[in-house]
């Protein structure tokens, strides 16, 4: 149906293509759960992709490359955090300016490194590769970033749902004043969430330049991904699993868009490539509409209904976008 890709291959490509996006979107989820919108994603992804590639190229070490990507992300996180949490400036304004700044900074500083060969992260065989059925072999032969992304989904899910620290972080995003009243330090918690989130965004950026779209250049190929990640967080209702599913859906649309070219020869190829972006955002709008009623009623009696409700209802952290000022 979709070009000549067999089903396992399709799954494998979708997994591979979605991994960096999952990491980025989860980083943003972490920050937003604590109440801070980091709108700078689109630039930060490129900036960290550039930093990661340059460091990996210079040192020959992929590990250092990924770390450099993470720290480049974190550096921007410091700015977002300081400006919005401690100076109480508009998170949207700071993030937007930073998005454009980081993008251009990446292009400017990365120019000498464009289109040169550098280290790339390769696919590796899963353990017990040889006794797996061949379709599983295909699906599970993936670069480490894929495993990291999947692991991160579960880690973050566990963190938010079961851990004490995760609960504290969520509580700050819902009602920082109440968290303060219970002895937490909302500003500090938010700062940590932003920093770790930005670190993950940086890792995601590095996953682009070191694994999915190896190399650096203008364009790198990760442009526009930051905006999609922001939309995914909403699409996923701030729930790690759903965010990840959203990222996979987006990757599926991108991968299959290429095959659609043959099915609809009259439609220009470019249209299929732009389509996932608006589709993503309009799914979001649709979701918003369809869950509005049920969110208003919000009464789920038995545990099964509660489970379904948790799965499909999306709700922003209550204090999102407003930083806490202590009286």
């Amino acid at each position: 149906m979709l070009g000549d890709l067999s089903f396992p291959v399709l799954i494998a490509s979708v997994l591979a293509a979605s991994a960096p996006l999952i990491i980025i979107a989860l980083g943003e989820t972490l920050a937003e759960k604590s109440g801070v919108i980091n709108l700078s994603l689109d630039g930060v992804v490129l900036f960290s992709a550039m930093a990661a590639f340059v460091v990996a190229k210079e040192t020959g070490s992929l590990t250092l490359g990924f770390l450099a990507g993470g720290f480049a992300g974190m550096l921007t996180g410091v700015l977002v955090g300081y400006f919005s949490i401690y100076l109480h400036l508009s998170q949207v304004a700071v993030g937007f300016a930073l998005a454009l700044l980081c993008r251009d900074l990446a292009y400017f500083l990365g120019n000498p490194y464009s289109r040169v060969q550098g280290p790339t992260l390769l696919e590796s065989k899963p353990p017990l590769h040889d006794i797996l059925p061949s379709s599983l072999q295909t699906i599970m032969t993936q670069p480490l970033t894929v495993w990291f992304a999947l692991l991160l989904v579960f880690l973050l899910y566990y963190f938010f749902t079961f851990s004490k620290a995760g609960l504290c972080l969520r509580s700050v995003g819902e009602n920082p004043a109440a968290s303060f009243a219970r002895g937490l330090n909302p500003s500090k918690i938010q700062m940590w969430a932003v920093l770790v989130g930005a670190f993950l965004v940086g890792i995601g950026g590095a996953a682009y330049s070191l694994s999915l779209k190896p190399g650096w250049g203008r364009p790198q190929g990760a442009e526009g991904i930051g905006w999609i990640a922001l939309a995914l967080v909403i699409f996923g209702g701030w729930h790690p699993m759903r965010v990840a599913l959203g990222a996979m859906l987006f990757a599926f649309l991108q991968v299959s868009g290429i095959g659609l070219q043959d099915l609809f020869p009259g439609v220009p190829a470019q249209v299929f490539q732009t389509a996932p972006f608006p589709l993503m955002i309009f799914t979001l709008i649709f979701m918003h509409y369809s869950t509005r009623k049920s969110r208003k009623q919000g009464y789920n009696e038995n545990s099964f209904q509660r489970f379904i409700g948790k799965l499909f209802m999306s709700r922003a952290p209550k204090a999102i976008g407003k930083s806490y000022k202590q009286e």
Partner: protein
């Protein structure tokens, strides 16, 4: 552990919330703290939990001074507070709310602790329910259990019974007494004299940020009421020359959400020229009623009729009401009625229903100048609204009031005003506006209501518990009705 407040004072900018408060609460007792709205009770308690900083004074525990810069330090000293406005996380579950701020425990143990405590206090709480689906009372129950679970030794309860049913009270009160008997120091903030009387061994009354009364059980209610609300003023002869005419505002069995309990079974008719005071504790339903009449809130059931027109149940209701010359002045002026960063003359430009496309800045300035002169506003046309003092903000709002208003709705019209400004406001409302204008106002000051209104409507927990002409009632009757004491109403 005994707590001693020594010469505590607290300023919010120029507002003196507390002045020189000295008070001791002993362990093993329940100490009551009462006073009218805005007396400073909550502020005093928040200082004890480190949630707010104090401007002056000391806090001593068992005789030694302690530093309380944030709630964490307070909780180390065993101080915990049940806040008046629920300080919880509505999208989280009961269990999660219970665990936040508690010492670390496994989930299973936590659940077990919660369940044991609910049984002990006779509450009914499903640990997995979302808190947003609970009533305010249930939310306070969680907080209370959490505080007890956290081994709090100084327990502050700021109006713990706002949403609690009589049956739950019967479980709660003995439990509190038991806790006190076990050596806990409980500070109880309340408006409900009955509760205070049945629980506390000592009571302190705050008024305008100062201590006005201190008493040990048994209590003499009239004395307490006087200390709370001020001296009962003698009834002056009213020299109103207002004409009372046909009915202009009708509430037909209206039900609406808003404030704490919303509004239920509300039937009210207002006539031309009437001045009606809405009495009740904070959030008992007065504000919801005013907003319904102004078209700013939409009833869930029933209709609001203005001058024979039923207000539409849509966003256009407020414009409709304004077309019918209804004016509304909210209590929170900067939040709800003024534009903090805009100049006074800009406010005058916005007023009214001029249809011209352009606005004349000159004209607005002239209007502003006239307004400033007529209403003695301390300020210039170019000043922004936030530059004005609270009193002058209220004068500005009055200057902006539609002079042809047929119905004026005021929420706490003298909030933050000194006595003379307050009198001036009333003079303006009663004498400058047309005598046919009806005035509906709410106020936390009982004296004000008794003094200016022709008719008093008293609210309690979202229902109207009394609706009488002012001559047919008394200060005491209203005060007791406000606090929900049924027997005194008859």
């Amino acid at each position: 552990m005994d707590v001693k407040f020594q010469n505590i004072s607290k300023n919010f900018g120029s507002v003196k919330a507390l002045t020189d408060v000295t008070l001791t609460a002993h362990s093993g007792t329940i100490h009551g703290l009462i006073g009218e709205n805005g007396a400073g009770k909550s502020t005093l308690m928040k200082i004890l939990t480190g949630y707010q900083s104090k401007s002056g004074g000391k806090i001593l525990i068992d005789g030694s001074e302690i530093q309380l810069n944030d709630p964490r330090q307070a909780s180390k000293h065993g101080i915990g507070m049940l806040y008046q406005e629920p300080m919880d996380f509505t999208p989280l579950t009961v269990l999660e709310n219970f665990s936040l701020g508690s010492p670390y425990q496994g989930r299973r143990e936590l659940r077990f602790s919660l369940e044991t405590l609910t049984i002990r206090f006779g509450f009914h709480l499903d640990p997995d329910r979302l808190v947003e689906q609970l009533t305010v009372g249930e939310r306070q129950q969680i907080e209370l259990l959490r505080l007890i679970h956290c081994k709090t030794r100084i327990l502050i309860l700021d109006e713990p019974t706002t949403g609690i049913s009589p049956a739950q009270k019967e479980a709660l009160f003995p439990a509190l007494q038991q806790l006190a008997a076990d050596g806990m120091n409980i500070l109880l903030v309340s408006h409900k004299l009955e509760e205070v009387a049945s629980l506390c061994s000592e009571v302190t009354v705050l008024r305008h940020g100062r201590i006005t009364h201190h008493a040990h059980a048994p209590f003499h209610f009239p004395e307490l009421l006087t200390a709370m609300f001020g001296s009962v003023p003698e009834q002056k002869n009213k020299t109103h020359c207002r004409t009372q005419g046909s009915s202009i505002l009708l509430f037909e069995n209206v039900e609406a959400t808003g404030e704490r309990q919303g509004l239920q079974h509300c039937v009210v008719a207002v006539n031309e020229g009437e001045v009606i005071g809405l009495a009740g504790l904070d959030g008992a339903g007065q504000s919801t009623l005013l907003r319904l009449a102004a078209g700013l809130a939409i009833p869930n059931k029933g209709n609001v009729q203005l001058f024979g027109n039923t207000l539409p149940k849509s966003n256009s209701a407020s414009q409709q009401a304004q077309k019918l010359d209804v004016s509304f002045l909210p209590a929170d002026r900067l939040e709800e009625a003024l534009f903090a960063d805009m100049s006074l003359s800009d406010h005058f430009s916005l007023r009214g229903r001029q249809s011209s496309f352009w606005r004349s800045i000159k004209k607005a300035q002239t209007l502003a100048k006239n307004g400033i002169r007529e209403f003695s506003i301390k300020g210039n046309p170019e000043d922004t609204a936030q530059d004005l003092s609270g009193g002058n903000q209220q004068r500005l709002l009055l200057a902006l009031l539609n002079p042809h208003s047929r119905l004026v709705l005021l929420e706490n019209p003298t909030r933050g005003l000194d006595i003379r400004s307050g009198q001036w406001v009333w003079h303006y409302l009663l004498n400058t506006l047309s005598p046919k204008t009806a005035i509906l106002f709410s106020s936390p000051e009982l004296d004000e209501i008794l003094h200016y209104s022709d008719r008093i409507i008293v609210f309690h927990d979202g229902e109207i518990v009394m609706d009488k002409a002012v001559n047919e009632t008394s200060h005491n009757a209203v005060a007791t009705a406000m606090t929900g004491m049924k027997e005194a109403i008859q």
